[in-house]
């Protein structure tokens, strides 16, 4: 499965949760599949989806799911120790690990080679870390939500992108409606 197929499958689960979504095609796909005020789309700032979602989870009680990418986590590796040492129960970091920089043309990342992101998350101090195969993502995500435990999920899937339009919504509109959803 590719990222967009996974997002389609988990959209009904994500729908009710606060989601911070990675820059580029991941956000375009989520936006096209099921746009929700509870989605915060990153339009830039590669690497910070995990940090933004984590700050949000620490600041309030609702569950927050960051949908990140392997390349983006690799560019902000300092995020893993910060998460590992401060993990609250209301945070899920879902790393869609397609082994590539999908948005920029599927160039391979080191995560698709010898580097093991789940092992890195564990070494960084994250307690609940699971590696999941693409086909199992929906069931596993629901299990993790039901467990009520802060968790890092590394979802192994194929490289590839669906053709979706760019997001033209103004960033302040994205942020404002998201904040209203957070506060509601």
């Amino acid at each position: 499965m590719i990222r967009s197929e996974i997002l389609k499958e988990i959209a009904p689960i994500l729908r009710d949760e606060l989601v911070v979504c990675n820059i580029g095609i991941p956000s375009q796909e989520l936006h096209a599949i099921d746009d929700q005020p509870t989605n915060f789309y990153m339009l830039g700032t590669m690497g910070l989806a995990s940090s933004i979602g984590f700050g949000l989870a620490l600041a309030q009680d609702k569950l927050v799911i960051s949908i990140d990418g392997d390349g983006s986590v690799l560019t902000n590796l300092g995020t893993l120790p910060t998460i590992g040492n401060n993990m609250p129960s209301n945070y899920i970091l879902m790393i869609i690990d397609n082994g590539s920089y999908g948005s920029t043309g599927d160039q391979p990342t080191y995560a698709g080679m010898r580097t093991d992101l789940a092992a890195m998350a564990k070494a960084a101090g994250c307690e609940n870390v699971i590696e999941v195969q693409d086909v199992d993502t929906g069931a596993k995500l629901q299990e993790v939500i039901d467990s009520g435990k802060g968790t890092v999920m590394v979802v192994k899937c194929d490289s590839g992108n669906a053709k979706m339009p760019v997001i033209t919504m103004d960033p302040v509109v994205i942020r404002d409606r998201f904040m209203k959803a957070v506060a509601s």
């Binding site: 910070l48 309030q60 902000n76």
Partner: protein
């Protein structure tokens, strides 16, 4: 009252309750004070752009954030300031040690000091420079201004402000 206590008192009085830090020798006292306060959740970050991501999330979650960092970090955070903090219009007080100014013992610090104000100016970031201890009287107003206009705002604190470098 120590200057560290005064700075953190102003943060607390302005309801700043989420603070991320990356240390600088000059900021050691203020970081210790942040850590000691019950009103503030202190979360050290590993890199300042990561810290700004945490602050963005915390603000959307209803908490007033601040970052405490060294001026060298301006070189690390330009992209984040432009495409996250400014693009989504979010407030962020940045309490910054201004290394590489008068009394600096470490030559390399001067290399970023000469770019610091130029970069902040280029980014259209409101910038305040604390040189004498009494300059900190304005901190309360600067914090109110930051959360009024939803912008990143820089507070540069140089060596003279901190009373030099102690034994160096």
């Amino acid at each position: 009252m120590s200057i560290d206590t005064k700075i953190v008192d102003d943060l607390v009085a302005n309801d700043v309750s989420f603070v991320t830090t990356v240390p600088c020798k000059q900021l050691a006292g203020v970081i210790e004070e942040v850590e000691a306060r019950d009103e503030i959740f202190h979360i050290p970050s590993n890199k300042e752009d990561e810290g700004m991501g945490l602050c963005a999330g915390a603000w959307m979650g209803g908490k007033r954030p601040a970052i405490i960092m060294q001026n060298t970090a301006i070189g690390v955070t330009i992209n984040t300031l432009a495409t996250l903090t400014q693009y989504y219009r979010m407030p962020l007080p940045m309490i910054i040690s201004y290394r590489g100014e008068l009394r600096e013992p470490v030559a390399c610090q001067v290399e970023m000091a000469v770019h610091t104000k130029a970069l902040l100016n280029q980014m259209h970031i409101p910038t305040y420079h604390f040189h004498k201890e009494s300059d900190a009287d304005e901190l309360d107003a600067i914090l109110k201004y930051t959360f009024m206009c939803n912008k990143p705002v820089a507070i540069l604190t140089d060596a003279s402000f901190w009373g030099g470098y102690g034994d160096q």
